[in-house]
Symmetry: D2
């Protein structure tokens, strides 16, 4: 079989770098071109020198007439608002699209607006007609729809952690839907590669903080997915925090356990729910999981605990924000869209320490 030809738009950012890392040893895909508005003409290995000899393709301007366009799939590793403008021209040529931003995570204009109101410089959606055919790219919930779509909205990094952490509990009605609190801690890489006073090394190495308290945009896709599973509207409280490490999201999820439930039933429900999901690992309370356990890999580790004093289910859900939370999920979605083994190119454990 010929290798799938992949184009990456926004290739110069961490999301592009992550896709390159996942694709260079992928047996059935190859990177055909790297597109970006910045650093055009430079080999990507000048920006990311660890790629030297592995991927030395130059970054090409989006309007460069020499830029190849014979892709079978394009990754948009771009901020909100870019994919919705440009994806249609690629889709029209029969090229599949995986978009990292929130542009195609919602299937109607109203829920998109709830999301868009939370982000900076929001605007009217440029391609509302595409929303109905886009699929939310969380393979564990939407594998089948992903396999037959040409347009995937890759999930937000916090959302992956929260939705995978909560889905079995919500689907199986183990918890009170009114009581859900997600306390998320993220490494700094989630903010991307653009320097910023809050992520300047001296300002960050010994500091942690909450931010966007009760106002983070990822809450909408979490509530939408949970609502579908529950068959009713769900509202959650979600607080993100930044802590001084690079990779990893640890979300501690609290919810009231329903009458008659206990840790044994909860574990059983989770193991059953994820029994066919290679990238989800379920653990009981015996050993707390650390973010480093998923660093650099496409896994989501979920550990389950019950505080019997208060009847609270406490779920710790871990992903690497740049892999399962971004580029890894994108490649996983690509694999599904092209009928490959879902795990192709992704079966590596990361490095330790």
């Amino acid at each position: 079989m010929d290798k799938i030809k992949v184009g990456i738009i926004g290739a110069g950012g961490y999301g592009g770098c992550g896709a390159i890392e996942q694709l260079i040893n992928h047996p059935h895909a190859e990177i055909r071109a790297l597109i970006d508005k910045q650093d055009t003409g430079k080999p990507v290995s000048e920006l990311y020198p660890h790629l030297t000899g592995f991927c030395d393709l130059p970054l090409m301007a989006p309007d460069d007439p020499n830029c190849p366009d014979d892709f079978q799939v394009v990754f948009f590793s771009t901020p909100d608002g870019v994919g919705q403008k440009i994806a249609p021209s690629w889709l029209d040529k029969g090229i599949k699209v995986v978009d990292y931003s929130g542009d195609f995570r919602f299937n109607d204009i109203d829920t998109y607006k709830g999301y868009a109101n939370r982000i900076e410089r929001h605007q009217d959606h440029a391609s509302p007609h595409l929303l109905g055919r886009s699929v939310y790219g969380l393979a564990e919930l939407h594998r089948k729809e992903i396999s037959s779509t040409s347009l995937v909205g890759n999930p937000g990094c916090f959302a992956v952690s929260c939705i995978l952490g909560l889905s079995p509990a919500v689907k199986e009605k183990l918890i009170s839907y009114k009581s859900i609190i997600c306390d998320a801690k993220t490494g700094v890489s989630g903010a991307g590669k653009t320097p910023n006073p809050a992520f300047h090394y001296p300002a960050r190495y010994e500091s942690m903080n909450a931010y966007k308290i009760s106002g983070h945009q990822h809450v909408y896709e979490i509530e939408r997915e949970l609502g579908v599973l529950a068959g009713q509207d769900i509202k959650i409280t979600f607080t993100p925090h930044v802590v001084p490490l690079c990779r990893g999201i640890l979300t501690t999820i609290y919810a009231q356990l329903c009458e008659g439930q206990d840790i044994g039933k909860v574990e059983e429900a989770y193991r059953s729910f994820y029994k066919n999901d290679m990238f989800v690992r379920v653990f009981g309370p015996e050993k707390p999981q650390a973010s480093v356990n998923v660093r650099g890999s496409n896994f989501c580790n979920i550990s389950l605990n019950v505080d019997e004093r208060t009847g609270t289910l406490i779920i710790v859900s871990l992903v690497d924000n740049l892999v399962k939370g971004q580029a890894g999920s994108a490649v996983q979605n690509m694999n599904i869209m092209f009928g490959l083994e879902e795990t192709e190119g992704l079966m590596h454990p990361g490095i330790y320490p």
Copy 2:
């Protein structure tokens, strides 16, 4: 006025080092002797070379016949179980005691047992007769009792963060008492100076994890203090996490806001509650506070937020675990016990960056 003569037991640990740092420039106190079972004979500045020239006293064995004992106050910077055995002999000589551990945080043997069951190697309390006269050393709640006692149980570091974060809300009945969740993130220094696989640099620099989920011993003193303020029993859900930084506890506290409350009333209640407390700073939702804002200082920063979508009060409470969470509170208590200005020796902002 002559300077207060201070003895520090367990002086070789981080808690002893912290007390020395707070005391070397204290205008009305002086360190008379440093006592420890390890590293005896070595100047403390060999263990902590930054103290060279500031405090070069040797560590002396507890049973060293040459060890001075003409103290006016002794700090027990020792693990659970030490102070309860040795403090009586000092108290009998008329010497005041501040104990860092849980030994004297509880006023009766039953609540102590609830706590002790959670810690390793627990045992029967060695001096139960002293529990009735010990005072819980959180100055903001017990200033008056501290001023007239000779025995203070210094609060746990997480407890300082949670109790200061919650006291006004509980006292003024702003929140539902059944819904309180404390999600705490601590730096590594809280675990002390003894090396441990979990705090080995390569294992920790890029990892975060929850631990003792629903089982941390500090929950008892938090519930006791909140219960007194509420006039009824309160149970909370408390989950500690370790993140890769050195100093700081950030606790994110969630509780259902009562009917009729709003952010304005909450802010007003907090400012009023703490209006005479120099070391508590109250902030509204406008600017999230970072742990570095209290690093190296005796302050507790509290920021208040309401998630209007879910009616949740979200409080972020910050302390430096080694200062307000330990040695700073100890010196603050000493100041109060001796009728000094409460802030003496403690009015410094820490360093940045």
Copy 3:
């Protein structure tokens, strides 16, 4: 005695913050005004929240007509090129000046040019007539001249580390002058507070690199000072490195030991040279010194070693780049200029861990 009134220009940067930290508890100085071109109108404690309650003065524009000017000394915590333009107007009013940049580190225009050619956007010196009266602000070498000048060029952070590490060896002719190599490692705070791709947390937390190899501008003031001590021209090889920590410069200095020298004589020479210098601590080879030993304090720790296999003197010289390498030296110089105890306000050990 009335307190010395201090104005700080460029107060919003790390150098300004450092000066504020050293001055807020200084018994004989007070900050009168904070001047900056950025963030004007904001209290400095909004930029540096740990200062809340300690220094809440607003940043004022340099041309703000309401800005006080009744200073006795002005600190220029500004980049190269600023002080040389503006200092004259303050000096003319009889106000003393301490400039952090290279503007007044050289006493004639030719050596200044050697320096200026190495920095970005260099230019002709705006006040060449002042060079002759400026004094290089390294108190250990120039205490007397500093006491009688009104214009001090505060030394570069690397230069402090190298010059203090080498002065006795050069002065006492312990080493071959042709063989000196300075391998310097600095924390990230030396680069200031402006975000930069190289100091973005994810890019820096797990990376170290050399930079400006054979081209750093501080080499000129090091060579000038050493040349004066040697009575002949000296050229050194100097390589700076950035490593992922915040505060600290560790310079490892290599030079061929002269015939007849040994570690004992070297130690004796160093102890003798620095016998009246409170802020220099000399150590033999028995215990390597770590950068954290001087973190947050105005000390320079020097450890001396001889590699007998190759006859090489190996000196490890440590400073906190933001204190002895910048704001601490500035306050030390101010104390000397005003006839105060040199250590006033500076006798604190920093914090650990």
Copy 4:
């Protein structure tokens, strides 16, 4: 072709973990058993949870009768003194051995003693008869001998960095042999996984220091290899430093450039010397290399610079101490010993950021 069966002794340490990471996706090798004295019975994925699902083999005691022994090669990831005692029994069965320690890096007992005198608890070599047939496992210098030996002494991590950095300059007589100084900075993982006060997170996160000044044991293998290339004895000055990061060695090498040499000739010599070495990348002075460029990969990056003011060649040599400095070199050596492509299993770039 059947896969090579690999046994790993000392599998529970970082060196064992590194070998597992390199081997789990190796197309022509498979791990047959993991042997260790500690944690026996536990799956290695309990110690290193990122390996879950990739390698869940248990650690088996060396004397466990159920332990497989049908290996074709055994890696000794053990401290000095272990391999020399146990390797003979494996070699006698016709099994090849790669030993990570210094036990087989020297070919005669006298040079071994020079090394052994520098390490703790040194002893007489237990298998001196094997020294004559062991090969120093730095493939770039000894590829041919490695291909025909059954016993490889894997090089020390610092030695890899220094020898690769210096070999062309020494071989081609570009530098004065008397003037070589190696200033090495290492991440903390080089010290292994055993907790230690110096590597406790709070003690290390913000500290750097030199250690074993003029006394590190790796100097002997460096001098031996350089001596062979030079055809004469060479003595170097070598100073190791620990800095607060996990992976990476950056060695800055200084030497006097010989008359008639310049940067162009140096670059040419280096490129020529390494033209057939896939894992060595040579760079000129245009862009300083950072340790993160080789993190997690088997590459050595060398950048070349000349300080024309002093005639000094300044070489910056970078490796990941756990890969090219340890397990990666071991796998590279295994590949060569079995006639495989040298790069098999090792062609991955690491991860960034």
